[in-house]
């Protein structure tokens, strides 16, 4: 299951990530996607609708869970910030809508942060002091359905401003620009988020029940009950769960469930510090 999902608009924005994490292409329809054991990346193409669709594709294809960290990584324009500035998006809106999205940033913020306006055509006026991109709002709208908003973020590298036009940059220059900021983004933003997400990952780790289900016939409902009971027993018993052999006298799954309930009730609270 992926721990980190990356969404980029362009292949040249994706290339530094693919190389850094050693991602391999997967055979897929619709979007170019790449993966390793823990990381998945999709190239959405330009525009907020394409980005929303690609985000949904990634979540569905890789069955991402709520512990997954999502990052929309790419370039953006800003009136004044120097080319190469790394900016975390703290407020996002699509140009034709009035509703804002506010990403929640649950880690110390070591990077510059700014509002991002998602537009339909390349921006060259830079009317307000904010980032301009073409995907962010669509990405947030989709990705926040799959993970808590605290783990769904966009990080932009300023590519153009009033002094340096976007038209100066070819795809190699864009890759170089992203590549030059990759370590900063990973060390100061992505890794702390991944560390934080382990809280949810650890709590959602499933308990292996097959030694019980191999021995007794559990219905689907009773399998859920079994898993929940073993989880609770582990929680109050310093992580230890009973062995199936302890229930040898039980003739049915129902009896095992009853025995486990009794076991849970008999355990006194033990608190680790």
């Amino acid at each position: 299951m992926s721990k980190l999902c990356l969404v980029t608009a362009l292949s040249c924005e994706a290339r530094p990530w693919i190389e850094h994490y050693g991602l391999k292409p997967i055979a897929s329809f619709g979007f170019k996607a790449y993966t390793s054991d823990d990381i998945a990346l999709v190239v959405s193409g330009i525009g907020q609708n394409a980005c929303a669709a690609a985000t949904g594709f990634l979540a569905g294809h890789f069955q991402t869970g709520p512990e997954c960290v999502w990052i929309n990584a790419g370039i953006a324009g800003h009136p004044d910030l120097p080319r190469g500035t790394v900016v975390v998006v703290n407020k996002s809106r699509y140009v034709n809508q009035s509703e804002f999205h506010y990403p929640s940033i649950p880690i110390p913020l070591k990077l510059f942060s700014a509002e991002c306006l998602t537009v339909d055509t390349v921006e060259s006026e830079y009317a307000d002091q904010m980032l301009y991109d073409m995907e962010c709002a669509g990405y947030f709208g989709a990705a926040r359905r799959f993970s808590p908003v605290d783990l769904v973020h966009a990080v932009k590298v300023v590519s153009d401003n009033r002094v340096h036009s976007w038209s100066d940059l070819d795809r190699h220059a864009i890759s170089d620009l992203i590549n030059s900021r990759l370590e900063t983004i990973i060390q100061t933003f992505i890794n702390p988020l991944l560390d934080l997400a382990t809280i949810i990952r650890d709590d959602n780790a499933e308990i292996d029940v097959h030694e019980f289900t191999d021995r007794w016939h559990f219905t689907v409902t009773n399998t859920h009950r079994l898993r929940a009971l073993l989880f609770d027993i582990a929680a109050v018993n310093a992580g230890k769960i009973p062995f199936p052999d302890e229930f040898n006298k039980c003739h049915s799954a129902r009896e095992v469930i009853n025995q486990l309930n009794t076991r849970l009730d008999s355990l006194k609270p033990t608190w680790s510090e």
Binding site: N90, K91, F100, Y102, S104, I105, P106, I107, P108, L109, S113, E115, R144, R145, P148, V149, D150, L151, L196, A197, I199, I200, D203, F231, D232, A234, A235, V236, L264, L267, K268, P269, T270, W271, S272, E273
Partner: protein
């Protein structure tokens, strides 16, 4: 440490906002139209946000001061509560704020003066002779963020004007400088919360340890402030009786017990929906697994355990203070 501040548009020009922003010159400031755009929206994770809460500066609209349930009374006829702030610096695992809010960010309503007008209005409308109590510290700790908010410093002159009305400041904080730097008020009670040592060590995260709280309590009493004790919630664990007796012994060795205004005790209980949300946030927390039952939508210890806890606690406390000063809180949320 606050490094991200959300600022409601209506609060921008409030003098208190500017003062707070000046305290955090390096914080990123993000403007919003209304704080509800980002606070408590679905899809947020309280536990993750607790790692680094942001500050939201906002204006409180609507009713500022609400009636408090009678079972929370410590002897007053009319009881009210108010929250100038939502959420707490501390991270107590039993705290119902985790169940109420999806967001752990701190919301600070900067229009204190409108709270004070409501308090004055309620005080003026009460029949003569009625004792009115105003409880602060329901949705936040009354003192923990005092260096940031200056709320207590602002509210005390209001109660100086209203000597027949009472204010309770409920806290676990040792931020008592603003109280020690002025003359005490006989109608303002500083109420400190305690749990037994094993419960405190394991469940009260980021909270000053009980020894420091006792020192603060004693300093306030020496200075002349009325003080009170709140043992709410009582948390069940092995050796509760002896641990609670030891806690009382330590606390009352710091205090002149005859001057303690009141002591209240209450069991651990939560509305069902709060409990479910907290259980989901902390699925491995033994507190939410052990010995609890659902009674008509309130989740708490089974009647037998709760009665034992209340009985043991009351017996210990009665060794130090008059029985009439002990209040049992048996309904509502922890």
């Amino acid at each position: 440490m606050i490094d991200l501040i959300y600022l409601e548009r209506e609060a921008i020009d409030h003098p208190r906002t500017q003062k707070i922003l000046n305290q955090y010159p390096r914080a990123e400031v993000v403007e919003c139209e209304r704080y509800g755009e980002l606070f408590n929206r679905s899809g947020q994770n309280f536990r993750l946000q607790k790692n680094r809460p942001a500050l939201i500066l906002a204006i409180k609209h609507g009713t500022k001061v609400l009636p408090a349930p009678q079972e929370y009374s410590v002897g007053g006829k009319n009881n009210y509560y108010f929250s100038h702030m939502l959420n707490c610096l501390y991270d107590c695992r039993y705290c119902f704020l985790q169940g109420i809010y999806r967001s752990a960010n701190y919301v600070l309503y900067v229009n204190y003066e409108e709270f004070f007008d409501s308090i004055r209005g309620l005080a003026a409308s009460a029949p003569p002779g009625d004792e009115n109590w105003f409880f602060s510290g329901y949705d936040c700790d009354s003192l923990a963020l005092e260096p940031l908010t200056g709320f207590v410093e602002s509210v005390l002159p209001v109660f100086e004007e209203l000597p027949s009305n009472w204010l309770e400041l409920r806290t676990k904080s040792t931020q008592i400088r603003s109280l020690l730097s002025r003359e005490p008020l006989s109608n303002v009670v500083v109420a400190f919360s305690f749990t037994t040592e094993p419960a405190s060590r394991t469940l009260e995260h980021k909270v000053p340890n009980s020894e420091r709280r006792m020192d603060a309590l004693a300093a306030l009493q020496r200075h002349g402030w009325p003080v009170a004790l709140r043992f709410d919630p009582l948390i069940y664990h092995p050796n509760f009786k002896s641990e609670f007796a030891a806690l009382c012994e330590r606390i009352f060795s710091h205090l002149n017990s005859s001057l303690v205004h009141s002591v209240s005790v209450g069991g651990f209980r939560l509305p069902r929906d709060f409990y479910k949300r907290m259980r989901k946030l902390y699925p491995k927390e033994p507190l939410f697994i052990h010995c609890l039952e659902d009674n008509n939508g309130m989740v708490g210890y089974c009647a037998e355990i709760e009665a034992d806890l209340l009985e043991a606690a009351s017996n210990s406390i009665e060794q130090y203070v008059d029985k009439d000063s002990i209040y049992r809180i048996e309904e509502g949320a922890s």
